[in-house]
């Protein structure tokens, strides 16, 4: 397979581990203190009234409603999918979420349950969450979930290879998975909790985008810390640099640990003031979350009525 010319434009002519290493060393470094300060400053934005309602609606539409548990069953997936299509049965003005996100063995149930709706099916793949198998097996699994009808594939990079400096291995694997995706969208999970430094996060972001990621995603949700604001800021800055260099737009998905509407609004502020309006759509930004939705619904109800409803008024699926 070959890469689209726009993506090769920032890469060396011959892609090998040494040439990828020099490419990554040219990525600007990140000062962690400065990144933390920036998100702290943005977190003081005061979002009220109509701007809050607009944010809550958008956050709802950006959610990949997720269940990734060993105890997942067809019944659980069907119920969660119903919620994804119609989050608040009492209020039809609340829009559907973006997607449901499930394990490969649940894809067919999710496809059936969301049929006819705007809700997409995302499948984690590549032997999520550890991804510790040969590339061939990962590619095979990706092909299978796409055949089953997944619209989106969430893969996890080989963190050990990245930290060990085997950049070609990481790059090539993403490239092969992207190829196997066909028309399905590829979200590349960096598992930033295991990359640890913001310099690593920025370099891995660039590597994933150059290799063909449609979205870059922070975490599997199985490693702590999962999504954080500084990590998200650095990934958004990498997306901006990539857009400047290639003209290719890449999406962003923070996942794991975002549980309240207040938190989600902070992510939206960081997005709005880093990448701006063009990314303020579910086509380019997603939240990977399981419990966030009900808090958002509760806040919407509060804005409408001026009162907090009991959690019993919101469905638990």
């Amino acid at each position: 397979m070959t890469l689209a010319p726009a993506r090769t434009s920032i890469l060396p002519d011959r892609i090998t581990t040494p040439t990828l290493r020099s490419f990554l060393r040219s990525v600007p470094s990140v000062d962690e203190v400065g990144a933390n300060e920036r998100v702290a400053a943005l977190s003081t934005r005061s979002i009220k009234r109509e701007s809050k309602r607009a944010a809550l609606d958008l956050i709802t539409q950006m959610i990949d409603l997720t269940t990734l548990e060993g105890k997942d069953t067809p019944g659980k997936v069907a119920q969660m999918s119903a919620k994804a299509i119609r989050p608040d049965p009492l209020d039809p003005s609340v829009p559907s979420v973006a997607a449901v996100c499930v394990y490969p063995n649940m894809v067919k149930y999710a496809v059936a349950a969301t049929e006819g709706s705007s809700v997409k099916v995302a499948s984690v793949a590549t032997y999520f969450p550890s991804g510790l198998v040969e590339t061939d097996l990962k590619v095979e699994e990706v092909s299978r979930v796409v055949r089953l009808g997944a619209d989106e594939v969430d893969m996890v990079i080989d963190r050990g290879a990245f930290l060990g400096g085997e950049y070609f291995k990481v790059f090539d694997e993403i490239r092969r998975v992207k190829d196997a995706c066909g028309d399905a969208h590829l979200k590349v999970i960096l598992e930033t909790g295991e990359l640890v430094t913001l310099d690593n996060v920025r370099q891995a972001s660039l590597l994933a985008m150059a290799a063909g990621a449609d979205f870059i995603k922070t975490s599997t949700g199985k490693v702590q810390p999962a999504a954080t604001l500084p990590v998200t800021l650095v990934m958004l800055e990498a997306i901006r640099d990539f857009m400047d260099a290639t003209g290719v737009m890449v999406g962003m998905k923070p996942a794991g640990g975002i549980r309240t509407a207040k938190d989600a609004i902070r992510y939206l502020v960081v997005l709005n003031e880093t990448l701006g309006e063009a990314w303020m759509t579910p086509d380019w930004f997603r939240f990977g979350a399981s419990t966030l939705l009900n808090d958002v619904l509760m806040q919407i109800r509060w804005l409408q009525t001026g009162r907090y409803s009991s959690p019993d008024y919101f469905t638990k699926d």
């Binding site: 726009a6 600007p28 470094s29 009234r49």
Partner: protein, 492 residues
């Protein structure tokens, strides 16, 4: 180069933040304020008052007394009596209790003080709330802690206070400059006659109320409001032992001349034209934030503002592009809105001065960039401004603009960066951005500036001394060094 065209199926959200104004009612403003002399508010013998206005609306807030020579005379006499009879003889541990009490009361009333600082001065409420007030309380707490430990601050000598301190402060950080001067002076055992700036007198008058409520002995702190004439009377008063001034280099030079040959001790904190140096290996996105904070914090009304940006030539264009994009996201406008990043220019006079210097930049051939933002119709506002193609010989590279205007120059080698950075009569502060630790130390050794920030900018702390080289003044404020300005000693 092939471009993948994004065709979103779902519309994007143009997200406007709804106005989120802090309530002005939090601060009670009286119609008219007298002078605070000998522990109480008194009418001025001058019988003169002047209005203080809100620079964001141009509406009057209150009338404030204009102290004449007779009033200043009363204030100095009260300070002298308090010094001789009460404050100097008092045990350090006792003095500390008063200063701690003032610190706590400032902290308790910090929301009210922040609102008043914003109304009277034009700075964004989020800065008054998150930067000014915590630092103000922090300085009082810090120096309160020194009051009973002065002989440990300077081991081997027996320190003593100077006497009556006459302090004249500027309008850019009205409360913080008060704290920088009043807290160490009181802790060291001096008494104070303070002259706040003409355009921002209100918060100093609230601190006077707080001092009275805290039971500070009458005369220990006196506040005389007024304009330049009042300041000159304080500085020139024969019974003042120490003069501390923060303001323009021009006025600082006049004061230094006036005081030459007198017994008075003097510290000056004057202007600046700080170089902010960006090397190619800098963490670029954080450096952008540092540059933005360096020049647009408090509308650029900061003596240590990073107003001359020196960018390594091989990253110049890329860095300037990033900077322009970031400039366009700054929210300029109503200082009382909690989401405002850049507030109002402090006065009509300052707005005129900024406009005049920006016009000179255009005349001299520099290239200007301003974001496409809408300024409020009333009040004093100026768009955040960048100049590229600036030469060292341009006025905008030499003179202190004291506004939201950044001049950008380039350099090729570290030696050239140092040479250009130091090529100014000022020497207050500088900033260096690089990932190389050794280069930070190399630069800090060579930059002639009182403060050098590395990979950050505009960071202040009560424990850290601040002050200038060359025409940026002499003496230090903050830290143990800050005590030196208010003490002398006998060898033991």
């Amino acid at each position: 180069m092939a471009i993948e065209i994004a065709t979103p199926a779902t519309p994007t959200l143009k997200w406007e933040y709804a106005s989120s104004r802090e309530s002005a009612d939090i601060a009670t403003i009286e119609d008219r304020y007298g002078l605070f002399i000998d522990g109480k508010f008194v009418s001025p013998k001058s019988n003169k008052y002047f209005p203080t206005i809100n620079p964001a609306t141009e509406e009057p807030l209150a009338e404030v007394a204009e102290a004449g020579e007779a009033d200043v005379d009363d204030a100095v006499a009260a300070a002298r009596r308090a010094y001789t009879d009460v404050w100097e003889p008092m045990e350090g541990a006792e003095r500390a209790k008063y200063v701690f009490r003032i610190a706590r009361m400032i902290q308790e009333r910090s929301r009210e003080l922040a609102v008043l600082e914003t109304l009277d001065g034009g700075k964004p409420i989020k800065e008054a709330r998150d930067v000014d007030l915590p630092l103000v309380a922090g300085h009082f707490f810090y120096y309160a802690g020194w009051a009973d430990k002065l002989e440990y601050a300077f081991p081997g000598v027996r320190p003593r206070p100077l006497g009556v301190a006459g302090q004249v402060i500027p309008w850019n950080f009205p409360l913080l400059m008060l704290a920088w001067k009043v807290a160490p002076a009181l802790a060291a055992g001096n008494t104070v006659v303070l002259k706040p700036a003409e355009t921002t007198p209100l918060t100093a008058l609230i601190v006077a109320q707080i001092a009275a409520e805290a039971g500070l002995p009458p005369g220990v702190l006196n506040v005389v409001t007024g304009a330049g004439g009042t300041g000159a009377a304080v500085v020139g008063h024969p019974d003042v032992d120490k003069v501390a001034f923060t303001g323009s280099t021009a006025v600082g030079k006049l004061i230094a001349t006036q005081l030459a040959g007198s017994h008075k001790k003097l510290t000056l904190e004057l202007g600046g034209k700080a170089a902010h140096v960006i090397f190619e290996d800098a963490p670029l996105d954080q450096a952008i934030e540092g540059v933005i904070n360096g020049i647009f914090f408090n509308q650029g009304h900061v003596c240590c503002a990073g107003s001359r940006l020196l960018v390594q030539e091989n990253i110049h264009d890329r860095f300037v592009d990033k900077l322009k994009r970031r400039l366009s996201t700054l929210r300029v406008g109503d200082p009382m809105d909690k989401n405002t990043d850049v507030g109002a220019i402090n006065s009509r006079a300052q707005l005129d001065k900024i406009t005049e210097l920006v016009d000179s930049g255009l005349d001299e051939g520099a290239e200007m960039f301003q974001p496409d933002c809408v300024l409020p119709e009333r009040g004093f506002f100026f768009k955040p401004t960048l100049f590229t193609n600036v030469a060292q010989s341009h006025r905008i590279a030499q003179e202190e603009i004291f506004g939201p205007v950044l001049s950008i120059l380039s350099f090729r080698t570290p030696e050239e960066a140092v040479e250009k950075a130091n090529n100014t009569p000022y020497g207050l502060s500088a900033g260096v951005w690089t990932s190389k630790g050794s280069r930070i130390l190399w630069m800090a050794d060579r930059l002639k500036a009182g403060v050098v920030w590395a990979n950050t900018y505009n960071k202040f702390d009560p424990t850290s001394p601040f002050g200038g080289y060359k025409e940026s003044g002499f003496g230090r404020e903050g830290g143990r060094h800050g005590l030196l300005a208010y003490m002398e000693w006998d060898e033991t």
